[in-house]
């Protein structure tokens, strides 16, 4: 596992469009004009990224809180 964004169960998912197993690799995320890179599960064919609830409610929520203007 490359980082704590990905749990073993996450890789049991398959892409519904391509029927491919997900792989873990670097993806780019943009929020409020800030670009980040991180390792997340994604489809190797169509590149659709899976963001689990744990990542959405954890690191991404924290980033959102830091970036949002008061």
């Amino acid at each position: 596992m490359k980082n704590d964004n990905v749990r073993p169960d996450d890789l049991k998912w398959r892409c519904c469009q391509c029927q491919s197993d997900l792989v873990v690799g670097q993806v780019a995320v943009t929020y409020m004009n800030n670009r980040f890179t991180t390792d997340l599960p994604h489809c190797p064919v169509c590149k659709t990224v899976m963001i689990t609830e744990a990542v959405a409610m954890g690191k991404m929520a924290e980033v959102e809180q830091i970036l949002e203007d008061k």
């Binding site: 980082n3 670009r35 970036l67 008061k70």
Partner: protein, 455 residues
């Protein structure tokens, strides 16, 4: 004339409420008003980029959760808050003394001398209870006078924490913090979150002009003492044109050097109420756009005017702010939105804006969490460049501790008072009788020194 909008203000001489207009010309935006008895008045309120027309963040108003005074004579004479107010409190200021250990030529509170009685603890306890009723969840600032002249300040901080307030700040000149290590330890133990440190510049020439004596060594010692005790530091320069507006870049450099102990620089362009040398001309004012441009020029572009956004809590014309990530090499990188420039932004809910501001201030103005002792994150560029993509983990690890907020608030005095802005105010002083009064109105004085609210 390009445009003009109606509002209301007060006559600087007799404090009568009179119609006023924000008049937009090529040369700038002025607040213009005529008193039938005392004539015509004009004050510069905006000049240059970012353009006045782009500096917007409209709000859907919210009513105060607790009405402290009914509408009787109309704004600004019914503060309490009254039902016509359009924002809740985000910060409630308690003035716990009128004494001060300095005698500054400029003082909005007109505080002076060490004589006089302070409000007893029982009174302050009542104020906290009233603050809970009128503004539950607000941040608290203990002010004065100089709050550190009270030996029982740690007790007052502890009372506030026991009353349920999670963020308590003192507004101080820092003299006692610089010299009394036991006192600052007691303040930390009592639950003090943050110090709003008057910090007018990096040169004693400035302190001599504004405060009447050398103070830089004390200010730096106060910063060191707060850092040692893990108390968040907000450097607060009162900016006076011709006195310290050339030192803005140096102040920012010092803040970056002292990050993460220094959490914020909060500029306050001088307002002409309380005690000041003479009535203001336009050259005596520093408008928000002028200040944004000074920040960019004097920081050689490290902080850009376009980085700043109008507030989501108070009126857009009252303040600006932005957050910056301080890198290991002391470069800074703007984080967050894109600044002003949108022609017609959608209105935001004022209540949500207040909640966001309360949480953001409490988080950013307090001491940072302890730095991670784990391994360096796999970080491609977050600490190396001021642009480009960042590793998410690297960004988070750095941003948890090394965000620096740069902001400013333009207070209003009797010459540039715009009552529309006053009704949107979220920074409220608790009067001795527990009524809440917007900060500018509480401190407002006429040209002859007559007070609107301050006892």
């Amino acid at each position: 004339m390009i445009d003009a909008r109606d509002t209301e203000s007060l006559c600087p001489v007799c404090l009568a409420r009179i119609p006023a207009r924000r008049v937009v010309r090529e040369s700038g935006v002025t607040l213009e008003k005529t008193c039938p008895e005392h004539g015509v008045f004009s004050a510069l309120i905006w000049e240059g980029v970012p353009e006045f027309s782009t500096w917007q963040r409209p709000k859907i108003p919210t009513s105060p959760p607790h009405i402290g005074h009914p509408v009787a004579r109309g704004c600004p004479f019914d503060c309490g808050l009254c039902p016509d107010h359009r924002q809740r409190s985000c910060t409630i200021i308690l003035e716990i003394t009128h004494r001060c250990n300095l005698d500054c030529p400029v003082c909005y509170a007109d505080a002076r001398g060490m004589d006089g009685d302070d409000p007893p603890l029982s009174t302050i306890e009542n104020w906290y209870a009233a603050a809970r009723r009128a503004g539950a969840g607000s941040n608290i600032q203990l002010s004065g006078g100089e709050p550190t002249v009270r030996d029982d300040l740690p007790r007052i901080v502890a009372m506030g924490r026991q009353a349920g307030f999670g963020f308590i700040q003192i507004n101080t000149n820092g003299l006692r913090l610089a010299r009394d290590s036991r006192y600052i330890r007691e303040l930390k133990a009592a639950g003090l979150s943050s110090v709003f440190l008057q910090f007018d510049g990096t040169d004693d020439v400035i302190y001599n002009k504004l405060r009447g004596r050398d103070l830089l060594a004390d200010k730096l010692a106060a910063i060191d003492a707060c850092a040692k005790n893990h108390i968040g530091i907000v450097m607060v320069p009162t900016l006076v044109p011709g006195v310290n507006d050339h030192d803005i870049g140096n102040i920012l450099r010092l803040a970056v050097d002292r990050s993460p102990s220094v959490r914020s620089v909060h500029f306050q362009p001088v307002s002409y109420f309380g005690r000041f040398p003479h009535p203001p001309a336009d050259r005596d004012r520093l408008t928000l756009p002028q200040l944004m441009r000074c920040i960019e020029t004097q920081s050689a572009g490290r902080f850009k005017a376009s980085d700043f956004t109008p507030p989501g809590c108070e009126n857009a014309l009252c303040s600006f702010s932005a957050s910056f990530l301080v890198m290991r090499d002391k470069n800074v990188r703007k984080v967050g939105g894109t600044g002003a420039g949108s022609c017609c932004p959608a209105p935001v809910n004022a209540e949500i804006g207040a909640a966001t501001a309360i949480a953001s201030v409490a988080r950013q103005w307090a001491a940072p969490p302890p730095e991670s002792t784990g391994p360096e994150p796999a970080c491609n560029s977050c600490d190396c460049t001021t642009h480009g993509s960042m590793s998410l983990d690297g960004f988070l690890q750095r941003a948890r501790t090394h965000l620096l907020s740069v902001s400013a608030m333009a207070f209003q005095d009797v010459w540039n008072l715009d009552l529309e802005r006053a009704r949107d105010c979220c920074i409220h002083v608790m009067a001795p009788d527990t009524r809440l009064v917007p900060f500018c109105l509480y401190n407002l004085t006429s040209s002859s020194g007559e007070r609107l609210y301050r006892p």
